[in-house]
């Protein structure tokens, strides 16, 4: 049900310090989300491709994940150009595609693809426990990080529990349909998942207290300092500034079409 295809790997990106990667992923994503200039967006998309390539991501997995937003983008391209007010670009009968609408759809498509790829290349390339530690070092509250790790750990356990319950339902002849009976069965399934989760939580909590848990996970491997991290940081800062300059028309200005 859940897999992390990018988390393990041995590319240059995988070996960089997770704190640096997380920080710059957030910084670049925010910058890209606010862009309005097409040359800056194009460049950001290029950077995203470059990062994904240097992380040596599996292309099929990348496409699979991109296809989840492509459905949304397709809907966007159907709805926005028709409903957005502005100067008409084409007309067919009573349907009007506006120039501004097409503009906006193109912007959203470029930006969301770029942000998604940056995220896949820099953040999805670490395991969740590493991300948790990186977030802690980047001063996210300890309790929240603890909650994140706890939730992650139990997704798999609860997922298996769900599979077991669902198998039991199917053996007893359950077939999903649009009926009250079907929804009732799902409601009881969810209810049972919550009950089991809550009982498990009680046991886990007792076991943790028994072992002297004091609200902190200790980790044996620490982040290794390396000059490569600083090269990465320098490059990312240059890219950040480059995109900023393009956005403000100071570098390769492009007239909106």
């Amino acid at each position: 049900m859940i897999n992390e295809p990018f988390a393990s790997g041995n590319s240059i990106v995988h070996r960089l310090d997770p704190r640096f990667r997380t920080f710059f992923a957030v910084l670049l994503s925010i910058e890209v989300a606010l862009l309005k200039d097409f040359s800056a967006m194009g460049f950001a998309l290029l950077v995203a491709f470059f990062l994904a390539a240097s992380a040596r991501l599996n292309i099929r997995e990348v496409m699979k994940r991109l296809s989840s937003i492509f459905g949304f983008l397709l809907l966007l391209w159907i709805v926005i150009p028709l409903t957005y007010e502005g100067t008409p670009a084409w007309q067919a009968g009573w349907l009007t595609w506006t120039r501004e609408g097409i503009h906006l759809s193109a912007q959203i498509s470029l930006k969301s693809t770029a942000i998604l790829m940056i995220f896949m290349a820099l953040v999805a390339t670490m395991t969740l426990s590493t991300l948790g530690r990186a977030l802690k070092r980047l001063s996210m509250p300890g309790k929240l990080v603890h909650l994140l790790l706890m939730t992650y750990r139990y997704i798999f356990v609860i997922g298996q529990e769900y599979q077991r319950l669902y198998t039991a339902m199917r053996i007893r002849g359950f077939r999903p349909s649009t009926s009250l009976h079907s929804y009732k069965t799902y409601a009881y399934l969810f209810g049972m998942l919550f009950v089991r989760a809550s009982k498990r939580a009680e046991r886990v909590n007792q076991a943790m207290i028994l072992r002297g848990f004091n609200g902190r996970f200790y980790s044996l491997d620490d982040f290794q300092p390396s000059y490569k991290n600083w090269i990465f940081a320098g490059t990312m800062m240059m890219i950040f500034t480059g995109i900023l300059l393009m956005e403000n028309g100071l570098l390769w200005p492009m007239k909106p079409f």
């Binding site: 049900m1 859940i2 939730t151 769900y162 969810f190 998942l193 919550f194 989760a197």
Partner: protein, 201 residues
């Protein structure tokens, strides 16, 4: 229910981020370390439950279940949903970094509202409890849709038709969330009432 990257304006993203941070801070404050295991494991149960597709006529949809999450967790729904959204982003690349705040508010604020509206009706008579639970499920999705609409319209007024389309298309989901929440609450009342708010032995 969430908004993708690259759609919203800077102001909306910042507003969402600030509200989500405030809600999460309150949630964390109300949740001591003793309860982290409980909230975490329940959050993962919701994560799993929201992956399950339920048939609606010829199509199918996954449920959000933020109404019942609110009833079970109260303010802790904020950190729980925030964490679940991080996991969705990392594991499936649904949503993402910049919209994390907005999406947290879209789903968690209705949870908290439902908690305040309905948590003390759950142990009343059967018919009252069923109505309250149904409304909890129905309204939480409706409120989420409306918040999503607010975020889109504040970004761009021309998104109005799109918002109508989204909220309208989610109407069947609201009804089904209501039905499922009602059955689920009645189930929990029988099986493990101590999980629900306002339980006295």
């Amino acid at each position: 229910m969430h908004i993708s990257e690259g759609v919203l304006s800077g102001q909306v993203l910042v507003a969402g981020g600030v509200l989500a941070a405030a809600g999460t801070a309150i949630g964390l404050k109300k949740m001591d370390y003793e309860r982290v295991a409980e909230v975490g494991i329940l959050a993962s149960a919701f994560f799993v439950a929201s992956l399950i597709n339920v048939r609606i006529g010829v199509s199918s949809a996954h449920l959000i279940l933020n109404g019942i999450l609110g009833l079970l967790l109260g303010w802790a729904a904020f950190p729980a949903i925030f964490v679940a959204l991080i996991l969705q982003a990392v594991l499936f690349q649904f949503g993402g970094i910049t919209v994390l705040g907005v999406n947290t508010v879209i789903m968690a604020l209705p949870s908290v509202i439902c908690y305040y509206l309905f948590s003390n009706i759950i142990f009343k008579s059967n018919s009252l409890a069923i109505t309250a639970a149904f409304l909890g499920g129905f309204l939480s999705v409706l409120f989420s849709g409306l918040l999503l609409g607010v975020a889109l319209i504040f970004t761009e007024e021309s998104f109005f038709e799109m918002v109508l389309l989204i909220v309208g298309a989610n109407f069947p989901v609201m009804v089904i969330e209501g039905i499922v929440t009602a059955f689920c609450v009645m189930f929990l009342r029988k099986v493990r009432p101590e999980m629900l708010p306002g339980y006295v032995k």
